[in-house]
Amino acid sequence: MTRWMIAAAAAALALTTSWAQAQEVKVGVALPYTGIGAEFAQLVDRGMELYLKLNADKVKPYKITLIKRDVKDPGGANAKIAVQELLTQDNVDILAGWIYSPNAIASAPIVSAGKKLAVIMNAGTAHITNMSPYYVRTSFSMWHAGYAMGEAAAKLLNAKTAVVGYTDFPPGKDSLAAFKKSFEAVGGKVIDEIPMGGAGAVPDFTPFFQRAKDKKPDVFFVFVPAGDHAAAVVKTYAALGMRDAGIKLIGPGDITQDTKLQAMGAAAVGLITMHHYHADLDIPENKRFVEAWKKEYGAATTPDFMAVGGYDGMAAIVHVVQTLRGKIDADKALEALKGWKFASPRGPISIDPVTRDIVMNEYLSEAVMKDGRVFQKVIGKIDGVKDACKEQKIGPCAGK
Amino acid sequence: MSAPLLETRALCRNFGALAAARDIDFRLEAGARHALIGPNGAGKTTFVNLLTGVVQPTTGAILMKGRDITGVAQAERVKLGIARTFQINRLFRRLSVLENVYIAVAERVGAAPSMFRPAGVRRDVVDESMQLLETLKLSGDAARRISELPYGRQRLVELAIALALRPEVLLLDEPAAGVPSAESHIILDAIDGLPRDIGVLIIDHDMDLVFRFAERITVMVSGAVFATGSPREIAADAEVRAVYLGRTGHG
């Protein structure tokens, strides 16, 4: 009896307060909080939370509630259920998250059917944004770094030949395609392509690297998922003496992910990467961002490109909430984001109104030792890079 | 004279360097009550395994009623009428006694492949299984799981399964081993009650049982036939006494 009364009272209270109080916007977050992606989920999650914490003023008078849901694995099926339930049970206004491309691909029909804005904060397979009109990406496409790197390798690093090693899943193949396309367009030659196992488990890279070493290329372009794969790549590169053999290890910034870089130590020195973010970028917004991060999560921790994907994604969501005054309509939200500009820790970014993908700077960096730690020194910069895959309508990026 | 029920010719089987069966020439006539004795490791169980097709001979032949069955698969030999019991119980431990016998009867009458009718609908199979249990005085335990039965009762189920196959040749590998003496008469009675035309080969160490049962005895030593004869001849054979009977004594 009493329980009923309390419930009724609470309901009544909720009604009246919601009237008086701030409009609540529910954001459903689909991330792999357990399993092999747990580490990445934590980075994106912290990036989002940090933006909300640092920009509490910008959120007002609205209230953003994050409803977090574990998608467990890169398999797709669990992500799909999670997104479906976020939409039908929790009635979220906006969706966010996606570490793994297969999860974003599996979720696409649900996102389309649910008609809610969905902000991709990491998954990098180029054509994903074509799969649902409600996808907007604040992270990157594999083509951003891969395409830029192909050109830079030939022009800036004077490479004539390259071997590409990649993890055998869509982002890896994307990365290979992007690098090859631009590298060969400016006269380089990819002399070997080595699929190096799946994304599910870190393989022993020694046989693959031995093969690459035997081919004696000028550069060895490697794409592997950030994290443990990347750490193993750098270790193997050093241990096999490839640097002494005159082969430069290059790749997108996944291989020098900030969270792994210091543990790689001296082995990482000399790596040359193309990426849109690393924690050493000398940009005022980034200085503040890194400082706030270390204050919030501990001096031993560092943000990285995944964290920035979450941070910028939340900035985009807050922008939408403000523009629409807390009443989220997916089509209006898309309008609000098309052409949106933001001063991100990675430099100026915007959302391409045509592709709903991000436009940003790419930085060519070299890892050097500085003050006893590995430091990423920017040695080149390309402004306003778009996803070349969709720009040039290559393969599945051409759309339907 | 017609061909014997079961016959082996120069049967050999080697396990690596070990000759478990050496040049065995053996005949089991229709209606025979034949015993196979010999010290441990003489190759008696291997011989049964050769006869039933569990083990393939290295050389030599096995004939049933004159037909060469050396290459015939185990299941086919059962269909031809060769059944056995095992030295150590090999039963369906988590099934009931009735189900144990049901499985064997169902195989014999060809009911087992039936997939779309409930097992209980085959009343004939259930009836026959129950009757068999009745004759072995097992019907009181019909609903119990094998794993709940004392070992001696399990031995009887071993026998029941073999009988359910209505064999022409019955190979009994130490049927009374582990059975309390108070119950062993049930097994002996059951063997005595078998149709006369079945050929029975019994392996046992229990000389009382062997001499009570057998009309003919074969002695095996080190994988080879050492002697064959009537119980009286075997009992009188000095060499047999020397290598076997004298050493182990009775029981």
Partner: protein
């Protein structure tokens, strides 16, 4: 154009990988052969041991070698406690109950490590003399691989001596072949199980630490390499130390060679190879023939 140097580098890399497989798997093989226990938590012990070694070096000032000893001892002791308290209850139980129990245990180990330490990879920094290259005359090669091969040879030698020349080893061999007989000879089976289990887990811990350079070290380690360990055990034959050794080397070298020369096939080769080997020799290459 496969030169001698290529073959040498392939063999060195493959044998080194095989050594890691061997060191982790040998305990699994012996526990499965001896106790008939399907211990899917074995990879969990390897992971725990690896963590103990990594943390000892990072936070408690251990050197590499003393950390390895520390990891071995800690893991062996912890597993002995688990064996007495929990595993022993399931000896002789349905193997599916054993599977359920050990999978549950792996989940708990993974979740606990994730909660207490975090989901990320634990870097295990090798001492400087083990990094870089070493000159072997005909070939420059990764120093650590060479050292690992040496360690592996020492371990297999010691294990072989232990199995063949000590009383305990003889007891274990007897119990693997015929447990009932061993029991009737007055061997204390329960004690033997505990010692073997603890030792096998300790070996797994060593493997976790020594192999971290190749396989990394994170909570998922407990499951993601389990299939490889099981393949080695199945191919080598249950309870056979030398069998596991040869199987690990075989799998290690073939896996390495196939990945190097035909990377397009992905991991398919190793599975195909295992299928063929097991169809050819169902009891494993060195297992006892079924009777």
């Amino acid at each position: 154009m496969i030169a001698g140097v290529d073959i040498a580098s392939m063999l060195l890399g493959g044998v080194a990988a095989g050594m890691v497989l061997f060191i982790v798997s040998v305990g699994l093989s012996v526990t499965m052969g001896l106790m008939g226990f399907v211990n899917l938590a074995h990879g969990g012990f390897a992971m725990l041991g690896g963590y103990a070694i990594a943390l000892a070096m990072k936070h408690w000032g251990f050197g590499f070698v003393s950390a390895l000893v520390f990891g071995f001892v800690v893991t062996a002791a912890a597993s002995a406690v688990l064996e007495r308290l929990l595993y022993a209850r399931l000896y002789g139980a349905d193997e599916l109950d054993q599977v359920l129990f050990t999978i549950g245990l792996v989940f708990m180990i993974i979740a606990s490590v994730t909660l207490l330490i975090g989901p990320e990879n634990q870097p295990l920094a090798l001492p400087s003399f083990l990094r870089g290259q070493i000159n072997l005359g005909i070939i420059q090669y990764r120093a650590y691989s060479v050292v690992l091969i040496a360690i592996g040879i020492v371990i297999v030698g010691a294990l072989w001596l232990g199995f063949e020349r000590t009383r305990l080893g003889a007891q274990i061999r007897a119990a693997v072949d015929n447990r009932r007989m061993a029991e009737s000879l007055g061997i204390n089976i329960a004690r033997l199980f505990t010692i073997t289990f603890a030792f096998g887990s300790g070996m797994a811990a060593l493997g976790g630490g020594l192999g971290a350079e190749f396989l990394g070290l994170d909570p998922q380690y407990a499951l993601k390499y389990l299939v490889y360990f099981l393949i080695v055990v199945a191919v080598g034959g249950l309870g056979r130390v030398t069998g596991v050794f040869y199987a690990a080397l075989l799998i290690g070298v073939l896996d390495f060679a196939l990945k190097k020369y035909v990377p397009q096939g992905g991991t398919a080769f190793i599975y195909a190879l295992t299928i063929l080997l097991l169809l050819w020799r169902p009891q494993g290459l060195f297992g006892a023939k079924a009777t």
